[in-house]
């Protein structure tokens, strides 16, 4: 096992980075999309149940199924993996963002407007920072969830550590099969752990001390 890893150290590290890279980029895009949709939902209240239902249905659909649905459109490779991960990453963030915006005290918004803030100013300086702790919790959930989805997306040659798991599967019975599967699985757990720590750190940095729990 140790030999297996030390022989391939560089490439494993590279794939771990690729894995983290895929997830973080997808979650980044997902956050922007989710917050954007949540802003719309906040403005047009009738969208609220729609957003929640879509999000609940989306989270029910297995990621392997989405991979299958995307393949005819985006073909095998990183693009499919990215879209797949980003799609699922959007849903928990959207959910939390809708809740987060709804929780912002309406008198604070009026007070901000009364002081002469523009709509954009109110969004960026009041609503977003106040909803951020809830949104951030959604982002954290998304990152964790995306790690496993990225692994499945490796079946269609998405980047990252998931490939090792499938290599282990195809080499079943071979000398290194278990090594491959273990490196893939444990590697993803470790990457997820580090990513979660990073997200915690991000929370420390970006959530105002005045509203931190």
């Amino acid at each position: 096992m140790w030999d297996f890893i030390s022989e391939r150290g560089d490439i494993i590290a590279y794939n771990a980075l690729q894995h983290a890279n895929l997830v973080l980029q997808a979650v980044f895009v997902a956050t922007i999309v989710a917050v954007g949709i949540a802003v719309l939902v906040d403005r047009f209240q009738f969208l609220d149940p729609v957003a929640n239902t879509v999000s609940a249905i989306g989270l029910t659909i297995p990621s392997f199924a989405l991979v299958g649905l995307l393949l005819p459109l985006t073909m095998i490779g990183a693009l499919t993996a990215f879209i797949c991960v980003a799609f699922y990453a959007t849903l928990p963030i959207l959910r939390n963002a809708v809740v987060g915006f709804a929780q912002v005290d309406k008198t604070l918004i009026e007070s901000a407007r009364g002081m002469g803030m523009s709509d954009l100013g109110v969004l960026l300086r009041v609503r977003l920072p106040l909803a951020w702790p809830v949104i951030h919790a959604g982002v954290r959930t998304s990152v964790q969830m995306s790690m496993g989805i990225a692994a499945i997306a490796a079946y269609v040659l998405g980047p990252g550590l998931g490939g090792y798991i499938f290599t282990g599967l195809t080499q079943a019975g071979g000398v290194n099969a278990v090594n491959y599967a273990l490196v893939g699985t444990v590697g993803i757990v470790l990457v997820a752990l580090v990513a979660d720590l990073l997200m915690l750190l991000l929370g420390r940095v970006t959530i105002s001390k005045g509203i931190r729990a």
Binding site: T107, L108, S111, G114, G116, I211
Partner: protein, 404 residues
Amino acid sequence: MTQTEQAPDRQISGAELRLENVVKRYPGQKVAAVDSLSLTIPAGEIVAFVGPSGCGKTTSLKMLNRLIEPTSGTILLDGKDISQESATSLRRKIGYVIQGGSLFPHLTVAANVAVVPKMLGWDKKRITERTDELLDLVGLDPDRYRDRYPRELSGGQQQRVGVARGLAADPPVILMDEPFGAVDPITRQRLQDELISIQRELRKTIVCVTHDIDEAIKLGDRILILQEGARIAQYDTPDAILAAPANDFVADFVGAGSTLKQLSLARVRSLDLRHPTTARVGDDTGPAVRQAEEAGDDAIVVIDSRDRPVAWPWLRQVRHHDTVQSSPRENLVTLDEAATLNDALDTMLTAAHSKVIVTGDRDKYLGVLDFETVTEHMRKTEREAVEHQHELEEQEQEAVSADG
């Protein structure tokens, strides 16, 4: 009781507001929320909007900074139609203070105060100086409170910061919506005192919505009493309204004629203050104690370098130290000279002394008011009221017998 008489030398920094036939009608509602309101709010005065809930006072207030757009009519600020300007730039010139302070919980106290100056693009140094100045003005030590978050403050402190935030960009007009509605009575009274004291200095135009007629009487240079549809029941000075309510609605609403109301109108400054022994922070205690003993005082008023009272220790406490000690100013309960006798009684009942320290501009020490002075004044007022009542009754009887 208007500030104009009190401080003629002060510069008015407020601007006049004029409403002309202002109407607000919400779609789908038969009666207008505000039905043709015309009104002039003079520069540099506090006007209190009072009335029962649903009378349209808050709607009227919010039309002044265009949080609500009038259906028709014109509002002029300093002679200029406010609808000609963009709502955001208008609002940056009008301070807005609402119940509880409505501070942004994710921003520090300083950042809360700095919101409008920042939007106006002031440079950093100017903002910092202004913030500190304002915190000091509302009685919060900048060094202690600047970097705190709202949740680390008491309700009263939050409200103070709210007032400071409303004043931040030195706007000519300040709108207040139930500004002191969320704090306990004692704190409310202190905040009212402070507002009056600040206003004496700044002379802004302040429009204050309240449901509390006592607050209106205390704060207002003028009171606007509104009936449903924001129809004006009476618009006059507190004295005039109490002396001659325009109709039964006003009479009921203000409870005019009672001695108690008269009492709540009388200000502390109209009574004689006593001047017990004072000492400055850091003075030797020896001479101070001797002086107090000669005068027969059992306590010493300690004032700081800016003439603000900071402590009020008993003589035996003073003797413990070689020099006169200070203590955090917030712990000392004081009364502004503009406070009413009602407030004075409340304060004395909760304080350790049966006396209360009275302050003027910028919390400057003025003297001490004692319980006897207040009760003596009350008795006098009541006696006069009873005599007045007798006269009225006698006149009535004479009238009746004349008829018979």
